[in-house]
């Protein structure tokens, strides 16, 4: 692929993952010699509807977004899901635990009827996705890794092992040893175990590994004093779209 045209799109999200892309300062200039960025509202005013690669941040939470993401899929040769909202639905899926009517009223009050809303979902539930860049926010090195993989038409090296691997390689003291609850054993690595490294329990923003042992992990959480309800709410923070797996 010779210097493909790349467009960034925002759906329901904080746009923080796109901000992470802008922090890759030392490599951005080299990056733009390889790709032609044609739309990126956080960084430039120009826009274009002619693009090869669509990098999509955010989850789908409205009917109008379904139409919009389908148009993007029809236009782009390659679609990349950027960040937890796009890859797994992210924290937006928390609202799926409630009646949509109730959610509308809480968020929009009197204006509730003006804004439609549907249960939040990752973009993959609406369109075919070619590449995933996980995390809340994404890891900048992984953004570069996936970009290179697209350009070289190779499979990117994205871990399907849990955060524990990275955490242990860094010689961190396991948070469970300190009585801190952690989603690390069931969560996909690739974040360099950044939260546990700073003594914050993993919250699972990169989604589950393919084959998590949820029942054993649930027991582990209950040994650390969590009730079943509390354990499930831990999983639901980022895993709202995989609710059926947790119950």
């Amino acid at each position: 692929m010779s210097r493909p045209r790349v467009a960034f799109f925002s759906f329901s999200s904080c746009e923080g993952c796109q901000l992470v892309v802008l922090t890759i300062e030392e490599q951005l200039l080299e990056l733009v010699t390889l790709i032609d960025i044609v739309s990126f509202r956080e960084a430039m005013s120009e826009k274009s509807n002619d693009y090869d690669i669509a990098i999509v941040e955010g989850s789908i939470t409205r009917d109008s977004e379904i139409e919009r993401i389908k148009t993007i899929r029809d236009t782009a040769k390659v679609v990349v899901a950027l960040g937890a909202c796009a890859t797994i639905g992210g924290i937006n899926c928390l609202k799926n635990q409630f009646e949509m009517k109730k959610v509308q009223n809480i968020v929009y009050g009197k204006m509730a009827d003006t804004f439609d809303t549907i249960p939040a979902r990752p973009i993959e539930s609406v369109i075919k996705v070619d590449y995933w860049i996980h995390g809340c926010p994404i890891d900048r090195d992984e953004f570069i890794e996936v970009t290179k993989a697209i350009l070289l038409e190779k499979k990117p090296r994205i871990p399907d092992y849990p955060v524990c691997v990275e955490c242990q390689m860094k010689e961190n003291v396991c948070l469970f040893e300190k009585g801190i609850v952690c989603m690390g054993p069931i969560t996909r690595a690739g974040c360099k175990a950044i939260c546990p490294t700073y003594t914050d329990g993993c919250v699972g923003c990169r989604g589950l590994i393919d084959d998590p042992n949820l029942s054993s992990h649930k027991n582990l959480l209950s040994e650390h004093g969590l009730t079943v309800k509390e354990a499930i709410s831990q999983y639901m923070l980022f895993g709202g779209n995989s609710k059926e797996k947790f119950e």
């Binding site: 092992y161 691997v165 042992n213």
Partner: protein, 349 residues
């Protein structure tokens, strides 16, 4: 071999002097009760409070991530090996970890010499500290025959009170003692005290594995269908921590990391772990060990059967790190004993 005494208060000086010539890695406390090998300004080994470090010192010989070669595809293909090594001292390595390194020496020299390991190893001096008491409840070094160590180190020090009874094993060991340590010649009475303390330690190290370690390959050969693997399948998280902390696990994954110019890059390796789901996946997508129980069984076989049969040595050194680090308390000794017990029940039937 001649034995010397180094006073405890002089050990810091020895440590510091070594830094003139070597990068010196010693044991330091990371958090209360948790230790790591690291480059430290001062000698900070906790001695009596010592527990095995989170990662074994193999990380200085076979690092978590390592570049193997650099390549360029433009203007024409060019490949250069990268072998990083420096003069280093690993200070305060306990017998279990010396055995771990001794076993890795065998592995990385067998069949095909792994120069990234062997060249680092050749530049490494190992100063051991012997154990007179079990360091913690998970230690089972004596059960696998690895409390005693008579090679794989340059210097061995034993705490006999106010002094370290110190022996060198290699000419390099002797050289650095003569050059950097303040020492006294050991007298007969010191040697007697040292030998007495060493013989007295035997009773303190319990034999936790319920058979002679040399019987284990046979027990494991018969344990393919042992119910213990089903039980562990339900418990094991497949998190890989037992592999990562193991002094004798040496599996790694090799991958290319291209630079952004898409023309040059590095070939790297990173520790891999046989308890992880993708470990035995082949290119067509089949997984030879799809369940966690199968993968754990494989790991135990690597320690007590496959490699043990090939090299006639246990590949578990008894440090207990896997047991300590397992989030769901899978205990290596208990597992081995369950295999032994189930074997015996099976035999009787």
């Amino acid at each position: 071999m001649k034995d010397v005494l180094i006073k405890k208060k002089e050990i810091g000086l020895f440590y510091k002097n070594l830094k003139e010539e070597f990068t010196v890695y010693g044991v330091k406390q990371k958090e209360k009760g948790f230790y790591v090998f690291d480059e430290t300004d001062e000698f900070s080994d906790p001695l009596e409070e010592y527990k095995p470090t989170i990662l074994p010192p193999k990380k200085f010989l076979f690092p978590q991530q390592e570049t193997l070669l650099r390549f360029n595809t433009q203007p024409h293909p060019d490949i250069k090996p990268v072998i990083g090594s420096k003069k280093q001292v690993l200070f305060g390595v306990r017998p279990c970890d010396i055995h771990g390194i001794r076993l890795l020496d065998k592995i990385f020299n067998a069949d095909h010499e792994d120069k990234n390991y062997t060249q680092k190893r050749a530049m490494t001096i190992i100063v051991g500290i012997d154990c007179l008491e079990p360091c913690y409840e998970h230690a089972h070094c004596a059960s696998v025959g690895y409390l005693e160590v008579d090679d794989g180190y340059d210097i061995m020090m034993t705490d006999i009170g106010d002094t370290f009874y110190t022996s060198w094993k290699t000419p390099q060991g002797e050289e650095i003692i003569r050059k950097y340590a303040k020492f006294l010649e050991a007298k007969n009475e010191d040697t007697d005290k040292f030998l007495r303390m060493k013989s007295e330690r035997q009773d303190r190290f319990e034999n936790k594995i319920k058979t002679n370690v040399s019987n284990l390959p046979l027990f494991f050969k018969n344990a393919d269908n042992d119910p213990v693997w089903d039980e562990l399948n339900d418990r094991c998280l497949g998190c890989g921590r037992c592999n990562i902390v193991c002094p004798t696990c040496y599996c790694f994954d090799v991958y290319d990391c291209m630079e952004l110019n898409l023309a040059s890059g590095e070939r790297c390796r990173q520790w891999d772990a046989c308890t992880l789901k993708d470990f035995a996946v082949v290119s067509t997508g089949e997984n030879f060990r799809p369940s966690r129980g199968q993968r754990l069984r494989h790991r135990f076989n690597r320690k007590f059967n496959y490699l043990m049969t090939k090299y006639n040595a246990s590949f578990c050194v008894g440090c207990g790190r896997c047991t300590r680090s397992c989030p769901v308390n899978i205990d290596l000794v208990e597992t081995v004993n369950a295999v032994i017990k189930n074997n015996r029940i099976h035999e009787k039937q």
